[in-house]
Symmetry: C2
Subunit: 268 residues, 2 copies
């Protein structure tokens, strides 16, 4: 059957996570229901990253199979029509080979985390950032983060329900930058790896926030990593600041896509 890669943006707040569940709303469930409007049968889609409850995506990638051959742009339009009013959008779509797999073909997952540092609550960004009121020492956070880069046993930064076979992973990137926004200062994390353990990014962010606040020394991150024990981890950050930002494939399936380009001029 013709196979299509879907690039998906979503607001994680109303969902129990990516993965379909019988009794609770999920992003996978929303998209499979939209596919069933096009071809009435059971659909099962696979995604590059199974995000948790409350975690957002700027560009999750999944693939689906359809009996009919679709123009990718028309497919994204039809799915978006049926997805309304869910905060889930198909932002790109491309035909892919039968052996292309959103999860298994992926080379790297890139996560982005927004930590807003300000005193007063922020109504505009509620649900989209993790807000803390204490100032953060970025240099100390970067010093702590440096201990995590590379190949390590990340048992400390892995939730107790993690199902990965091995706690050893390669962490490619853990960059921290300070950005001025209209809503105040944000500390933004960029975290890249081929694959992640359950809660790994949120365990990093929650621990490094404590380093920024001065409660943890940067060296304590190294000690925590070397302890290889879950109870050595700092707090786990809430999910609302976390976004799956990009998935890297050997070749970008959306490179030639024009699915999201605005249409030619026409009156509204």
């Amino acid at each position: 059957m013709p196979r299509y890669a879907l690039k998906i943006e979503y607001h994680g707040q109303p969902y129990s996570g990516w993965q379909r569940q019988n009794d609770r709303p999920s992003i996978q469930g929303e998209i499979e229901a939209a596919l069933a409007k096009l071809e009435p049968r059971a659909h099962t889609i696979s995604a590059a990253g199974r995000t948790d409850a409350g975690v957002h995506a700027l560009a999750q990638v999944a693939h689906c199979e359809l009996e009919k051959v679709w123009n990718p742009f028309r497919l994204s339009e039809a799915l978006n029509f049926h997805l309304k009013p869910a905060p889930v959008s198909i932002i790109d779509c491309a035909a892919v080979d039968d052996d292309w797999h959103a999860r298994f073909t992926a080379l790297e997952r890139q996560y982005f985390f927004r930590l807003l540092v300000r005193r007063a609550p922020c109504g505009h960004q509620a649900g989209l950032v993790w807000q803390v009121q204490n100032p953060l020492d970025i240099d100390a956070m970067r010093e702590g983060a440096a201990h995590l880069i590379g190949r390590h046993d990340f048992t400390t930064f892995r939730s107790s329900i993690c199902q990965a076979k091995s706690p050893v992973k390669n962490l490619d990137v853990l960059d921290i930058e300070q950005v001025q926004t209209r809503w105040g200062t944000e500390v933004q994390f960029h975290v890249h790896a081929r694959s992640f353990l359950h809660n790994q990014v949120r365990s990093f962010v929650g621990t490094l926030e404590r380093v920024g606040a001065g409660t943890w020394s940067p060296d304590r991150v190294k000690e925590a990593l070397e302890a290889r024990a879950r109870d050595a981890c700092g707090p786990v950050s809430p999910p609302r600041g976390l976004y799956l930002e990009h998935v890297v494939y050997p070749t970008d399936p959306f490179a030639d896509s024009k699915a999201t380009e605005p249409t030619p001029n026409e009156a509204v």
Copy 2:
């Protein structure tokens, strides 16, 4: 009585507008109710700009009077405590003279408008931008906007229920810029004037969007202005992309304030 200037951020979506109404939620009503928790009596606050239903503020300014002398930081903290969970925050606070008036002392109001240009719906920015699907010609929009700068009779760009005595206003700034965001291309408007007519910014934006789409020529903006007739105006944009961004006073009442600075390090 001691008088305090309040800098206020709010999400306009749940409100019928700034102004207090008996039977509908308003931002003024929220803040007056919070003040009544501090001093139980009727409070009336005045704001620099009475924003409409659905319009946001990044930095509205209002003033209040209290019998007790407050440390401005403590006052903002106390108000934010009582405002929860409303999406209204006091982001700065300062003591001002008895004759300082948030509305009458103001020299200029600065509005900001976010117009998101993309095909797929955007769940993260819902309620915070006006989204259009057609591409926009920024140069044509700027050419149209140039006709509006300066002192003019803005009858065309004034709602029929506007209560201003005169339709003649000075438009200081109408800048349009194209900005790449994580959610796509935004066309952002900066509109500055001493004062505005009712729906003036939204009438500008809605009309200039039509110029960008190619439905209106830039010169038609000039013709519309010179017609001095409401029915010569283009569509009025929805309120959700509009933000009161800044209010200019002869001297910045918040210049010496530390009300919004993060507190010193302390464990959460």
